[in-house]
């Protein structure tokens, strides 16, 4: 069993999902140790910061038979634009957004500090599911890292979807975020978020703001169909070029 709850959920998923593991690639601008990744039995690329989704887009287009999972940080504080456009294009990727509150979170009673906001962080966090929906994601979910079963189930669904899936995982990082008074230890933090969450599947994404004094709403919010980038590319170019065009990577990947 993996110590990292998210990788653990991913590992469980990959065992059961019925997809050839060889074809699964993970790109991540977050560092994971080789010993945590190796048991997954997939290809792993630790990308320079912020470019995970753009890199994943290239991997997928380079070989449409791949199943690409892109890990990003808080909407990749860097590289948010890649998220927006991958959603718009409906690139066939699974994006796992590890929300560790580089942008802050105020579910606590007292102001939250981070190492980069010593005097407490006053900025508003992203409503990631709402953004993902507006960009055009076909599958959107949010869980805390202790919702292992639910997370695993969502990843399974996302891997079977055709198009851009976004799964937010509330998972505060202990290194930078040790600022909630009385909650110095990482496990305590994770438990804190788990306890302060409420499952509401299908909730309207505009109601998913993470706000002071309110519970974090988790669940699966969007599940819809849209043609992917490659679908549209093939459809359009076959129409224009006819026989001269060779469909790219098969119709459905």
């Amino acid at each position: 069993m993996n110590k990292n709850p998210i990788l653990n959920a991913l590992g469980e998923t990959l065992k059961k999902v019925g997809i050839d593991k060889k074809k699964v690639c993970i790109t991540s601008d977050i560092f994971y140790k080789p010993e945590d990744i190796k048991p997954l039995g997939v290809d792993f690329y630790h990308i320079h910061r912020g470019r995970s989704i753009a890199f994943a887009t290239g991997l997928k287009l380079g070989n449409p038979a791949l199943k690409v999972i892109a890990f990003i940080g808080d909407l990749s504080t860097l590289g948010g634009n890649h998220f927006v456009h991958a959603g718009r294009r409906n690139m066939n990727l699974v994006t796992i957004c590890i929300n560790n509150y580089i942008y802050p979170f105020k579910a606590t009673k007292k102001p939250v500090k981070t190492s980069f906001s010593t005097y407490s962080n006053f900025e508003r966090p992203f409503n990631m599911p709402h953004l993902a929906k507006s960009c055009g994601a076909v599958f959107v979910a949010r869980w805390t890292s202790l919702h292992t079963k639910e997370l695993s189930s969502s990843i399974t669904k996302a891997l079977h979807k055709s198009g851009f899936s976004a799964i937010e995982v509330i998972s505060p990082g202990g290194h930078y975020f040790a600022g909630i008074p009385d909650l110095k230890e990482e496990p305590d933090l994770i438990k804190f978020y788990y306890k302060n969450s409420e499952i509401k599947n299908g909730e309207e994404t505009m109601n998913l703001e993470i706000e002071f004094g309110k519970k974090i709403i988790v669940g699966e919010f969007i599940d819809r169909e849209r043609p992917t980038f490659i679908d549209l590319y093939n459809k359009r170019l076959s129409k224009v070029l006819g026989d001269k065009f060779e469909p790219y990577g098969g119709n459905r990947d």
Partner: protein, 409 residues
Amino acid sequence: MRANPRDVRTGILYIDGDVAAAEGALAAGCKFVGGYPITPSTEAAEAFVRRAPQVGAMFIQMEDELGSISAVMGASLSGKKSMTITSGPGFSLMMETIGFGAMLEIPFVIINIQRGGPSTGVPTKTGQADMMQARWGSQGDYEVITLSPDSPQESFDFTIKAFNLAEKYRVPVMLMSDECVGHMTEKVVVPEADKIEIEPRRLYKGPKDKYVPFKPDKDLVPPMVKAGDGYKLYLSALTHNERGYPTQNIKNSSSRRLIDKIRLNADDIIEIKEEGLEDAEVVVVSYGITSRVAFRAIEQARKLGIKVGNLRLVTVWPFPDKKITELSKKVKGFVVPEINYGQVVFEVERCVHGNANIILVPHGGASVHNPNDILTAIKTIVKDKKRYDGILEFKTELELRIFGSGDNK
């Protein structure tokens, strides 16, 4: 390996340097371009877009240059020969990812159609001022290869060469073209596919469980595998060891090899075109469009009886240190014209070791040199026997204008 006939537009074409570069890429087997439109490189991307779907290649307009080049990295690791096309401002945005590509030894090509000036600069006019940025624009130590074409024909030929070098050495290779060459329309001869030599990807052929991602062959370049081939790769942009795992032990890391694989293979990589060097008093060192304009000055000088040698840098990086040092012992001086206020001249200066005079003929960009400026510099070397440390004349823009700056108006 020979080019695929489907990819090659064989014939005698009348096209501009941008289009020629795109044709070169297609002929070399490029199957993926991620790009974002930017003057004056747009024609190259447009040319690729038109042909790509008919040869099984993909062009995607990414959200920005950061996205473009990151997608190129991914596509290359998936097994497609990949490139991006850009100009100065986009090139600057790509810098970090160039370092990433060098670090993970991803073969890819960047076509940089240089424009004039820093920042937004002069988008529709020429410049050669990205040379130093091309070399070490990203943080940390790494080496790259650059090629400088002086005509649409060379844009075609050198783009093929760029792909071949990228695949051979698993290194970023940049075609450092410029607006003048990019927008210049000339005859380009595209040979038959079986006359075009293509370097295939260095694929690993050993047993699957023995594969070590960064274990080099004898020439210091490790073989590759494709994403999704079941090798359970772990590749990290952190300083890593042969297995691709992070390490802080630099000795065990690939850091040194990233440099050595280029420097120790420099003799194989470097291409220079030389002419009249045997008895030269003065040597003109130039690259790209400037070579061609300089040759006009060289012809004029020869008519005056001056013995001028012509040294064209096809590959500016890696730099032909040995050649310059060797020449410096025999000649009176070097003339270095470039469309910037001095970049490659400092490399010449380093290799000359004070053995000879050096005159920089600078140019602020937006046009090419007036050959008369280069001729004057050649004459100055011959007349003046005094030794100078470094640069003899550094003309200001104002002086240049008085002098006749090569403004074509």
